[in-house]
Symmetry: C2
Subunit: 705 residues, 2 copies
């Protein structure tokens, strides 16, 4: 029996495990009536948002479906493409939806469990995060397996294939299968972009808006129930940091697997080459499940203990993968391919190293963030300058890590002798990096749950001790979120490189006579590099502007409520929470359209004007600057956040000091950096490649150059 069966088996296992965890979370008690009420309001808001977002996205998918259908009927694409596109979007959205559902159900339960002990709080929050993690990998691998088996069956009939002169049947089959599968990557990426951008705008606009009036103008604490934007802020954590991140990593996950598969043909690995990444993913799921059992802590644990509790889970999983991947390659492909094992290993290590670097630059246990906190003493301007330069500086090591990983995985895979094998190795390193996703995502998605739990503890007046526990959980969430982001960005860079290679492979099939000139001295490539390089900047500008704009309307609304609702400040009357949620919902919908259209339109326009070489240049340019800009924005934002927390912990005068005020400015600037623009860029660089691949035939037919 083929090892390929591992993939569907792994996906079912992941989903069952998620189900088991979900039931365990739901079994926990929700706490007092007030807690239920607050949690209910957050749930309702998140549901309302996602419903609206999915309606908006539905229109996009219907239009794209029709466009793809027309192209398919005109012979530019195969008939599976429109359907694969839709399933990719559907499962990506479903991952986000389930993650959001469980996170909003877990917030009050986490708060309530934290009334008993820190460990039980951690268990609930982590389990909720793990549900999301395993749903993402489970659904991802399910979608991949489904299409793989279905297409394999379909193309097993040679009549369904057009063979190029001298092409072997198997090659043609693999080619047709992987090419169709890339399309659902585009569906997943589109969905992810909407979710990340829309959710990111929602969450940061609510956060910034709530803080600007509540903390700064009126002087009430964070998460105070009198603040009309407080529910919107909590909703935002769920729709942005949970649903958005879920869709995002779903996309990374399937993207890395299918882009690597697509490189198998040229590498001459046939069906084996396509299934190896799928099997790796299955192994990763099993390892993540095992690892997740090692996450627990004792009462009275310090933040360091908590962190090592989470890390233990990730490291055990990574270790298991490193062991099991060896026989997979050695026996699955043969000893002559053992270099590919080292490619996987290099990706796995790179992911961990990027996480370490991210932590170094953003955690207040280390020098950079502490120094940043010190620069708040001379005011907001100096903390902004230092934070920006910290972010810029922090890009160097990740660039070197990715660079070394690219070279190592290329050459150990035999790229020196066989170029295509080297590219396949680069793809596999991305798969290796993402193979621990089940558990890394769990540690990441756990953060917003803990954050929400803290909010509920505050609003439901659960007392100092509980709030301290949820704060400990939340603060840890900041660190895991930062390392999670580093991981998402690193894998995005490697996946994007694999996708560029897939794009070129696709063109070679579509237009065998096309003469490539991908040299950086070719002016169309050069101009493509410039245009691609500017896209992440444009994208970041648009999304930051949007956050600013929506935050402004929240400020206006919150000010209005404080003025017009009598008894609100005394706590006698509830504010109109729903109104703020509604403003964020509507505005985020509206604001996500332009960035999304940009991502879809840019490759097509560049393709029609600059041709295939120009598109390749654009993809490379966008990957390079996108990677660097995303790292910078994530790390600046994380460091500002933690510098503020460090000051709140008593340094430089503590809460209320001038230094603290300056640090709040830094944190506010960092919000859209780290939770809206930065993470969206990861998706952007892959979506650009996906769109280029899907519309390649159009570009080949109609481009000017």
């Amino acid at each position: 029996m083929s090892l390929t069966i591992l993939a569907p088996a792994g996906s079912i296992l992941a989903l069952l495990f998620a189900l088991y965890l979900a039931r365990r979370v739901l079994k926990a008690d929700q706490g007092t009536d007030l807690m239920k009420k607050i949690s209910g309001a957050v749930q309702q808001g998140a549901n309302a948002y996602l419903k609206r977002q999915y309606m908006g996205v539905l229109i996009f998918f219907v239009v794209m479906f029709v466009v793809l259908l027309i192209l398919a009927m005109s012979g530019f694409l195969t008939m599976f493409v429109p359907f694969a596109f839709v399933t990719g979007g559907f499962f990506s959205g479903l991952s986000g939806f389930i993650g959001m559902k469980i996170a909003t159900a877990a917030n009050s339960r986490t708060a309530n469990s934290a009334r008993h002990s820190l460990n039980s709080g951690l268990r609930v929050a982590f389990s909720a995060g793990a549900v999301m993690g395993f749903v993402v990998v489970g659904l991802g691998l399910f979608d991949i397996s489904f299409w793989y088996y279905f297409l394999k069956f379909w193309y097993s009939n040679p009549a369904h294939l057009v063979l190029a002169a001298g092409q072997a049947l198997e090659d043609a089959q693999v080619q047709a299968i992987t090419s169709a599968m890339l399309t659902f990557g585009m569906g997943a990426s589109s969905m992810a972009l909407f979710a990340r951008v829309g959710g990111g705008i929602f969450t940061k606009a609510a956060d910034v808006g709530a803080d600007l009036v509540g903390k700064v103008e009126v002087g009430i604490p964070e998460d105070d129930p009198r603040n009309p934007a407080v529910i919107a802020d909590n909703v935002g954590d769920n729709v942005g940091d949970v649903a958005g991140m879920g869709a995002d990593l779903y996309e990374s996950y399937v993207g890395s697997i299918i882009s690597t598969g697509a490189l198998a043909v040229a590498a001459g690995l046939g069906f084996h080459g396509v299934t190896i990444p799928m099997e790796m993913a299955a192994i990763g799921i099993l390892a993540s499940i095992i690892g997740s059992f090692f996450v627990s802590t004792k009462e009275g644990a310090s933040q360091k203990n908590l962190l090592s509790a989470l890390r233990r889970g990730v490291w055990i999983s990574a270790g298991l993968i490193a062991i099991v991947a060896f026989p997979l390659i050695y026996f699955g492909l043969g000893s002559q391919y053992i270099g590919l094992y080292f490619a996987i290993l290099s990706g796995l290590c790179a992911g961990i190293l990027i996480g370490v670097v991210t932590e170094y630059y953003t955690s207040d246990s280390y020098k950079p963030t502490r120094k940043l906190a010190g620069s708040s003493l001379t005011g907001p301007a100096t903390i902004i300058i230092s934070g920006l330069s910290l972010g810029m500086l922090s890009t160097v090591l990740p660039v070197l890590i990715v660079g070394v990983s690219v070279l190592v995985s290329y050459y150990v895979s035999g790229g020196g002798a066989d170029f295509n094998m080297g590219l396949y190795g680069i793809g596999l390193s991305a798969v290796g990096m993402l193979s621990t996703l089940g558990i890394t995502l769990a540690t990441d998605a756990y953060g917003p749950v803990a954050d929400n739990a803290g909010g509920i503890a505050e609003m439901a007046h659960l007392g100092e001790e509980v709030r301290e526990r949820t704060d400990a959980l939340d603060s840890l969430g900041n660190t895991t979120a930062a390392t999670g982001k580093g991981f998402a960005i690193g894998s995005a860079a490697l996946t994007a490189l694999a996708l560029i290679a897939s794009y070129i492979a696709e063109i070679k099939v579509l237009a065998p006579d096309f003469v490539f000139d991908l040299s950086i001295t070719n002016p169309t490539v050069l101009v493509g590099l410039f245009v691609g390089g500017a896209l992440p900047f444009l994208f970041a500008a648009l999304t930051m502007e949007s956050v600013g704009k929506v935050a402004q309307s929240i400020v206006v609304e919150v000010r209005r409520q404080f003025k017009e609702i009598t008894g609100l400040m005394d706590g006698k009357v509830d504010p109109d929470y729903a109104k703020c949620v509604d403003i964020c919902t509507r505005s985020a919908q509206h604001e996500m359209i332009l960035p999304a259209l940009l991502a879809v339109a840019a490759p097509i326009i560049v393709g029609l004007v600059l041709g295939v070489n120009g598109v390749a240049g654009m993809l490379a340019g966008a990957t390079v600057t996108g990677f660097i800009l995303a790292v910078m924005m994530a790390n600046s934002g994380g460091a500002w956040d933690n510098a503020k927390k460090y000051i709140e912990g008593g340094a430089h005068g503590g809460k209320g000091s001038e230094a603290h005020k300056a640090a709040v400015v830094g944190d506010t600037v960092g919000d859209p950096f780290k939770d809206t623009s930065g993470p969206s860029i990861n998706i952007l660089i892959k979506l650009l490649s996906m769109v280029s691949i899907v519309f390649a035939s159009l570009v080949v037919a109609f481009s000017i150059f």
Copy 2:
């Protein structure tokens, strides 16, 4: 007689014209004794700084000279290289020195002339700026002409040449000449980097430090003589914005001419191809001289009138160049090469368009900056977010302009049929863009003179009316500085591209058997792209950090003087100005070392590790992200500065309002953006190429890949 004589003739003409203008400036009256005293203090500080800087740089040049000499004696380089390197650095430094001398002499004279009328103030300030402009182009073209004639004479003896198999004598001569000439580009670039970085750190540290204590803490106005850092601030304008900029644009100017010349061999244009850019430069000088006579205004002129007075000069020069370049190409090279004329034209237009875009994004006459000013109403965080996104957004059009210019100049020059001819066309477009440098630099360098004049007017209590006139001149200087920066960046991008092509051409000569793989799918190229892409970020981070660090020490010193010197606040005792100048001088020296070493070491290290292809990738990556980052930083900074000025003009509550305080934060963040990091990046991307070219033989001999 050959047209080549135009080049030395043009250079002599420029220097004579500069001399004439300088005498006119020096003839003007210096004003009151107090004015003389203040101006003297600024002169003294600037002299002290430059002396120290040149001493520091001398060490670098001596070391590099020895290294190059050793390499030359080992046969890796020709014997001219070390000497050419030194002359490039010498003339670049000399340009900055003369510019600084005249600017510090002109400040009190401008203030005094402004006592009579706006027009006479403008005349003095503009003349001083023009001295610098014409010294830069004059010395640049002189150095080029000298080496051209000298090398041509030397290599006219065939015994001095080693001909490759089948190579024509003329080709070998041109090859040898242009290859040696590229070296003095490296000298000029190194000098420029030191001047820009050192001067930039000095000027912004003094500015930020003076403002943080003076304006923010103590609440005294800008340029108040009681502020101990006020002289340092004025010195900074001269060593950063004048001497730094002079060295910078000297480097751009000669860089574009010699890199284009170096592309002549491969394009098959021989000596003609080398001399055309030199002749273009000579034409530009003549046109600039004529244009400069059209700069004058009437009393009571609005800022708009003033701006059009300056613009008239630039546009007339550009128009003249556009006309005269036609016969130059048509008769000089022949009608079949007329496409090259359009390449020149496309560069000329691109330069003007980038200036227009820069003005749109940074002038408070237009929507972006006005909207930015409005975002100050919700505090410092929102103006920072909006300013960053404004800067990011503003990169799109310049990228498209440069992109179109690259494609147009490549294809009109015949790049479609002959690749090398197309590259030569791209080089010529950079020369076209920079041909108006004499006058554009005059409008640019005039700014700091006017700024200083305003400071002197304030310190010497010259009265409201005079200060208003100098303010009008200064405010205009902000706009011309912004467009000047756009121009510097645009030309840097085109020149860097020409230099990349020169690098590859150089390798082809050094190692005729080397098999290039410059494809963006080659992993060494890819990794090079990533590393190169990160370099401008690293560079910006280091320089911003330096400004912050030095500003901190100024803050401490100014606070100390306010505390310890009794009678200072009452204006009875002078502060210790020299101490602040000294701190800035020493610290700037110290801080400029690391960034400069980075720029020199990076291409060598990357070359040894990644080889020739990797270096090419690095250069392309650095050019792309460097260009985008430099545009972003310059425009964010310019817009913040003008948003603050717009509020000071009465909008959103005017001076002293909360909005104004927020805008000051934006302006302070923008200072290192626009005057230190941003402009240094222009030099960085060219210096990387120059170093790569000079050390190419080393890389070819010893690289791993």
